[in-house]
């Protein structure tokens, strides 16, 4: 076996060392990369990509437009060397508080994941290209890995473009320049958002593997998004939590108080089953550094405390350090990684067990 002809290459070469039986011949480029490269090309030149780029651009620009007056006002109050750069993403118009970039992304970025994943495998099936693809000298999982990687790359591209667009607007039109910690926060937020969208991409990939028709896959993906993200964040999750673990209204004894706390904990657990909750919590902590000084000597120990202490009026004071913010969002990030992994593993297993013939 010509093992020396193999190029060292990350996971593949590690896999080859761990499971040498998998490799039979030298290969010059892993199959998943060839597939991913082709898929990225398809995505970037597709109408879908253009439409989504425009939609996301509008979603970012509209809140920015409404918020710019408020941001200017905020900026005029700056006394120290504190910057208000991140307010570009977290401030909306006074009347419609939800109309802010980070909320918009939380609500609509899942559509990116669904759009780039819902037809990834079933179209190969319906077009009859899947048998031809898997009869090439690649592993079957290269197909699903390559497609997932391509979706991830394109989503990252769109999100980074959006963030750069908003930042550019802030720098050029409003004259805000981010400092290092803000750049880091923004970078962490983009990573978090990519992770969040990759959950939806994995979910859409699962749909595309399990459902033969792209149309039903798209419809179900859209329906689940409406149900969990739109309605879920509006009232559905709260309703569910109230039904499962109602919080006692009155507390007279210590036991009553404990019961209240337990119910509240159950409620927040239920809400965190939704990736949207996890994302929103982590996103707010990353983008809105709170002010420990005006909250007394208080340093938030949990994410709830951090979010409850947030108030736009406190922007101007000193802020929570980025390390502390990252520490706070860590459980949320792990939760999102776990959900994404479970989704992708499900898609992977279903795909590997399926017969190739249609």
């Amino acid at each position: 076996m010509a093992a020396s002809a193999d190029r060292p290459g990350g996971l593949r070469s590690w896999l080859d060392r761990v499971a040498p039986a998998r490799r039979t011949e030298p290969r010059f480029e892993p199959g998943w990369r060839v597939i991913a490269a082709k898929e990225v090309g398809d995505h970037v030149t597709s109408v879908r990509f253009l439409v989504l780029l425009v939609v996301i651009g509008i979603a970012a620009a509209v809140p920015l437009y409404f918020a710019s007056a408020r941001i200017r006002e905020l900026a005029s109050q700056i006394t120290s060397n504190q910057s208000v750069f991140l307010a570009l993403f977290t401030l909306g118009p006074e009347d419609f508080g939800f109309l802010r970039a980070d909320t918009f992304v939380g609500l609509f970025a899942p559509l990116l994941g669904i759009a780039f994943g819902f037809d990834s495998v079933n179209v190969e099936r319906s077009e009859g290209t899947l048998p031809r693809l898997v009869s090439q000298p690649i592993h079957r999982d290269d197909v699903i890995n390559g497609k997932f990687a391509a979706g991830l790359a394109v989503i990252t591209l769109v999100l980074v473009a959006m963030v750069l667009l908003v930042s550019g607007f802030g720098i050029i039109r409003l004259g805000f320049v981010p400092d290092l910690s803000e750049v880091l926060r923004l970078g962490a937020w983009v990573l978090l958002t990519v992770l969040y969208v990759s959950f939806w991409l994995a979910f859409a990939t699962l749909l595309s593997v399990a459902l033969r028709r792209a149309a039903s896959s798209a419809l179900i993906g859209f329906g689940v998004w409406v149900l969990t993200v739109l309605l879920g964040s509006l009232f559905l999750l709260q309703l569910l939590a109230n039904v499962v673990a109602p919080i006692p209204a009155q507390a007279f004894t210590e036991e009553d108080v404990n019961a209240q706390i337990r119910a509240a904990q159950t409620q927040s657990f239920i809400k965190r089953l939704s990736p949207h909750t996890l994302y929103t919590e982590a996103s707010r902590v990353l983008l809105i550094p709170i002010d420990p000084v005006s909250s007394g000597s208080f340093t938030p120990a949990t994410i709830e405390e951090a979010i409850q202490a947030q108030d736009p009026r406190r922007y101007l004071a000193s802020r929570l350090s980025i390390e502390q913010s990252l520490l706070l969002v860590w459980p949320q990030v792990v939760g999102l990684v776990a959900l994404t992994t479970v989704m992708f593993a499900a898609a992977y297993v279903v795909f590997m067990r399926q017969e190739i013939r249609a």
Binding site: T24, E25, R27, V34, G128, P131, Q136, P137, I138
Partner: protein, 378 residues
């Protein structure tokens, strides 16, 4: 741990065999495959039960495609039942049978795209279930109802296949040019595949299967849904490719008449089993039981004609066929076509029909598989 380490027989040569494999003392030589797993690894992990029934090199011989007892079951349904197959280098083998007979399942098992429930397959000396990548590197496959990425040009579709096969770019480009001209698609090469006709797609599919420069070509229904002229063109193309590339071809079809002209040997598939296989002449004999039948039609008094036919030496039986035009089936033990025409014209009857039965595969097939008379095979 090897078989010889603890068995107290120092004279026995050291062989890396699991202890459980109770094989005869005289072991047949291992299959002539260089890419098999190192035997030390096969000993190290005990999970794959050593199968003493593995085909031996002597059994496989020079067969490019070999199967023994190959079986695929889905629950209680047996798609492929105990299939034996041996295709020699340079041979064109036709796997013939109606839809749902298990042809595609067989092909998928040979490519390692589907795991056999039982039995063994060897393609170019490799086990497709264990080394699918190595097999797929050497085998070109044209799937049933082949599909292409419609938004890409024909050439780009082939480029993608070339990249998946790890071909260096210059080699890929020259080979793609060559193949496109072979399948007469050079002019359409830079058009999107969605503008291609069915026949063009099929020809592109053949080019696609050849991009990797395979030693074996597996074609699943290469002539399906194509008009007669297109079928002739594809068959001519295949004939030329066999000659030029020295390929071994396994093709499956349910339209017997279309592929009989290029098959060296055929296997008739019915309900997951090969009911007969061999060269066409052999199958004809098998189907006819050594007897020959002629269809005869002639002008004149039917009774007189029947009398003339019965009088020809060598005729064993004459039967009147139902229908508006008088037709007879004449059974004989050897070829008496010349004697029949001679006798009829001598008696003043002009012949309007004379045909030897069992000439085409459809009739052979019907004789061999009596239950398939519902016309699906036609």
């Amino acid at each position: 741990m090897t078989a010889s380490s603890g068995d107290g027989r120092p004279g026995r040569p050291l062989r890396a065999k699991p202890l459980r494999a109770r094989r005869p003392v005289v072991d047949p030589p291992p299959p002539a495959s260089d890419a098999r797993r190192p035997q030390a690894i096969a000993v190290a992990d005990d999970t794959p039960a050593p199968d003493t029934n593995e085909p031996t090199a002597a059994e496989i011989g020079d067969a490019v495609i070999f199967a023994r007892g190959l079986t695929k079951r889905y629950g209680t349904f047996t798609a492929v039942d105990n299939l034996d197959l041996a295709i020699r280098p340079g041979e064109v083998f036709g796997l013939l049978g109606p839809n749902g007979a298990g042809k595609t399942t067989t092909v998928l098992m040979l490519l390692g795209l589907s795991e056999p429930t039982e039995g063994f397959a060897r393609v170019v000396g490799l086990d497709p279930a264990r080394e699918p990548i190595a097999v797929k590197r050497r085998v070109g496959y044209l799937p049933d109802a082949v599909g292409f990425y419609g938004g890409m040009t024909g050439r780009d579709n082939l480029r993608y296949t070339a990249r998946l096969n790890g071909l260096p770019r210059p080699l890929a480009e020259s080979r793609i040019d060559e193949l496109l001209s072979d399948v007469r698609l050079t002019d359409a090469a830079d058009r999107h595949v969605e503008t291609y006709s069915r026949g063009m797609r099929q020809r592109l599919g053949i080019a696609d299967a050849l991009v990797k420069d395979p030693t074996v070509l597996i074609l699943d229904e290469p002539t399906i849904a194509i008009d007669p002229a297109g079928v002739d063109e594809i068959l001519a193309l295949l004939r030329r490719l066999v000659a030029e590339h020295n390929l071994t071809i396994l093709l499956s079809s349910h339209i017997l008449g279309q592929v009989q002209s290029i098959c060296d040997r055929v296997g008739f598939f019915s309900a997951g089993r090969i009911v007969a296989q061999g060269r066409l002449e052999e199958l004809r004999k098998l189907a006819g039981g050594g007897a020959i039948a002629f269809e005869v039609g002639a002008d004149g008094d039917p009774a007189a004609i029947e009398g003339v036919l019965r009088g020809v030496p060598g005729v064993s039986d004459v039967a009147r066929e139902p229908g508006d035009r008088p037709r007879w089936v004449v059974h004989a033990h050897h070829d008496i076509a010349a004697a029949l025409t001679g006798a009829l014209s001598a008696a003043g009857h002009s012949i309007d029909h004379l045909r030897r039965r069992g000439e085409d595969l459809l009739e052979i097939y019907r004789n061999l598989v009596p239950e398939e008379r519902d016309g699906r095979v036609g």
